[in-house]
């Protein structure tokens, strides 16, 4: 047991644990902050996975073509929003089941990006590293929070913006009202399905940005396996966080901790069975939801389609 304790102390005192943790958390938080808005509007998009992957792919192709990071990031956003468009229009303009559409999109995008990746083979690289003076010198977490590649810092803008948008604007109030009681919202003159579509477009934009961040801020090249189910962890983070922004970000950090722990254990040379370790983030996510999911109150109309006159 002494060895185990020593290993945990070793992992927790290693700077790379925090740097990786911050990268993983940021990736999840890009997607989760958008998904939070979408879920507060009463939709549940399992196509987040597809949005992230498409965003990563279009960003990679964007850089390959334009060699400009800002343009590539923008293309990542567009990619995410294209998937959001299919999800939103099919399930909240037409009335196809949102889970069916989301699932199909995930599988379609996996095949499509894999196919196109082999045809195009986009060349990409990491964006430049920005060290924030003074802050990045904080021991242990300084480099993790303030010494990353610049797309990372977009998150510091996105999260407060999401909070403002959802909780301080009329639009945000309407979003929350269609998620709680779409019938009342409808009667008071809000176009329920229009607000829902908009919320999904927002999720698509932030997830697309998250995908682009993954390429330019963390990995540096595209593969069809780079998202690897983490879109679902982002959705779990929203539920884990009880549909609040603070809780969602906390969920992202905890789940990212499990992802980073896994890397550090191997990186520091400890012998742990790699299969069991790989399922750790998913186990932590499941256990986290099992502990917290029943204590929080979900948006009352979550995952219930709205058709006027049908209840």
């Amino acid at each position: 047991m002494g060895g185990l304790l020593e290993a945990i102390v070793d992992i927790l005192s290693s700077e790379s644990t925090y740097i990786n943790g911050a990268l993983f958390a940021a990736f999840l938080a890009f997607a989760a902050s958008g998904e939070l808005v979408a879920e507060r509007a009463g939709t549940l998009n399992i196509s987040v996975e597809a949005m992230l992957l498409t965003g990563a792919f279009t960003a990679a192709v964007g850089y390959h073509v334009t060699e400009s990071f800002p343009l590539a990031l923008l293309l990542g956003v567009v990619g995410g929003m294209i998937i959001a468009g299919v999800q939103a229009e099919m399930s909240h303009r037409l009335s196809a089941d949102q889970f069916v559409v989301g699932l199909t999109l995930n599988i379609l995008v996996l095949g499509l990006t894999g196919f196109l990746d082999n045809e195009i083979e986009p060349e990409t690289k990491l964006a430049g590293r920005w060290d924030i003076p003074l802050l990045s010198d904080i021991p242990l977490v300084g480099q993790a929070l303030f010494g990353q590649r610049w797309p990372f810092y977009l998150l510091y803008v996105l999260v407060p913006f999401t909070w403002w948008l959802l909780f301080r604007t009329r639009w945000g109030l309407e979003i929350r009202s269609v998620g709680e009681n779409p019938q009342s919202a409808d009667v008071s003159g809000i176009d329920v399905n229009k607000r829902r579509r908009q919320s999904i477009y927002y999720a698509g934009a932030t997830s697309g940005l998250g995908g682009a961040f993954l390429i330019f801020g963390q990995i540096g090249l595209f593969e069809d396996s780079i998202v690897g189910g983490r879109g679902f962890i982002a959705i779990a983070a929203v539920i884990f966080g009880g549909w609040t922004l603070r809780g969602t970000i906390a969920g992202c950090i905890i789940f990212a901790g499990a992802l980073s722990f896994r890397l550090s254990v191997q990186g520091l040379g400890y012998e742990v069975n790699s299969e069991l370790l790989q399922s750790l983030p998913f186990l932590v996510t499941l256990i986290g939801m099992a502990i917290f999911a029943h204590r929080v109150r979900a948006p009352r109309a979550l995952a219930q389609p709205f058709v006027r006159g049908l209840k």
């Binding site: 549940l44 399992i46 299919v86 099919m90 037409l94 009335s95 196809a96 089941d97 889970f99 069916v100 559409v101 699932l103 199909t104 999109l105 599988i107 379609l108 995008v109 996996l110 095949g111 499509l112 894999g114 196919f115 196109l116 082999n118 045809e119 189910g229 679902f232 962890i233 959705i235 779990a236 539920i239 069975n273 299969e275 069991l276 790989q278 399922s279 998913f282 186990l283 996510t285 499941l286 939801m289 099992a290 502990i291 999911a293 029943h294 995952a303 058709v307 006159g309």
Partner: protein
């Protein structure tokens, strides 16, 4: 509101479906052309690989069988209004159970084959049961838990395959390969029926038989009625005495059982698609996902799932021939995705049209 399925309505359905499917196919063809390929050879290769070349129909049927089994299970859970999307993991865990207990019990003969199938179903049901427990005890949405359990299940089985006290074959049986189980003995494999050069695995008949049974059970029994009531209106079901936990958990576990059965059938059936009667990492090879898509396209009708499974299996067996045309075989994943998406459109459009018609009729009357 349901409308009579006659006259112009049938025409509308047909037109909508034809247009959607054509759009999906044309989009796929454009993609092939745009990436420097030719669509005609791809179509030919797909047809050769799936039905035209000798023996390929048997392969396609054999590939369709586990997809069909997965789809039947999915239909049961979605009738109850539950969204189980973890079939890929349930199938893999089921196959692992079948392997472990198949060797534990040992012994030749038909009885052991049946036991292998049953243990596969139990394994799948238990793995889906985890999601049921999480849902009804801890309120975790089954959409997410079943999905996260796919990865966990995959890694657990991979762990089992690395441990000789669980699934790993003894050194003499595996040469220098890692992470493989022993091969099922000759007498423990599912039989095949030979019809005009095609070897048709037993699982095909099992699948079709079960599709009929489930279709009848859902439409003609009290149990099926209660399940459907739970799916259509949980509150009304609760009021009229359908215990949500009991029926819901049963539905999820049954759908897991069918996925597990598919896994066991793949193990004991072997053949072109599913290897050498032994368990390896990645054994499930997306059959669970594809089976799920089959169920979605079949729109909760077990009998419709039979031809749909055949078409999707054809895309899969055909894809191995596509490589020779210079177009990547993964194009079939894309075609499949476009097709599924296209098939979602007509029902959604018709639903809205029906509602509009009903509204117009109501305003006319007043």
């Amino acid at each position: 509101m349901s409308g009579t399925a006659s006259g112009p309505r049938v025409g509308e359905w047909v037109v909508l479906y034809v247009v959607s499917v054509l759009a999906a196919l044309v989009l796929s063809a454009i993609l092939v052309q745009a990436t420097g390929g030719q669509w005609r050879p791809v179509v030919n290769a797909l047809l050769d690989g799936s039905i035209r070349n000798p023996g390929r129909i048997g392969e396609t049927l054999g590939t369709a069988a586990p997809m069909l089994l997965v789809a039947i299970g999915t239909i049961i859970s979605s009738k109850a209004g539950l969204i189980n999307i973890g079939q890929e993991g349930q199938l893999f865990v089921g196959a692992a159970f079948a392997t472990y207990f198949g060797f534990l019990i040992g012994g030749p003969g038909a009885l052991n084959v049946v036991l292998i199938l049953i243990f596969g179903a139990i394994g799948g049901a238990l793995w889906a049961g985890v999601a049921a427990v999480l849902k009804y005890w801890r309120n975790v949405p089954e959409v997410l838990s079943t999905l996260l359990l796919v990865t966990v299940g995959g890694q657990l089985v991979a762990y089992g395959l690395s441990q000789s006290w669980l699934l790993l074959a003894p050194l003499a049986d595996r040469g220098n390969r890692n992470q493989v189980s022993s091969q099922l003995a000759e007498g423990n494999r599912l039989p095949r029926l030979e019809i005009s050069g095609n070897e048709i695995p037993f699982a095909v008949f099992l699948g079709i038989g079960l599709a009929i049974v489930v279709s009848l059970a859902l439409s003609r029994t009290v149990w099926g009625f209660m399940l459907r009531m739970l799916g259509r209106n949980p509150r009304a079901a609760q009021r009229s005495g359908v215990a949500q936990t009991k029926y819901g958990a049963t539905a999820i576990m049954l759908s897991g059982a069918f996925a597990g059965l598919a896994g066991a059938a793949m193990l004991a059936g072997g053949g072109f698609a599913f290897g050498n009667y032994q368990l390896v990492p990645g054994f499930s090879t997306n059959i669970g996902w594809t089976g799920l898509l089959v169920a979605l396209v079949a729109r909760e009708k077990a009998l419709v799932a039979i031809p749909v499974a055949f078409v999707f299996a054809g895309l899969r067996t055909g894809s191995s021939f596509v490589g020779a045309t210079g177009v990547e075989g993964r194009i079939t994943d894309v075609i499949q995705g476009f097709l599924v998406l296209a098939l979602l459109v007509p029902p959604a459009v018709m639903f809205l049209r029906d509602r509009k018609r009903a509204r117009d009729a109501a305003t006319e009357r007043t």
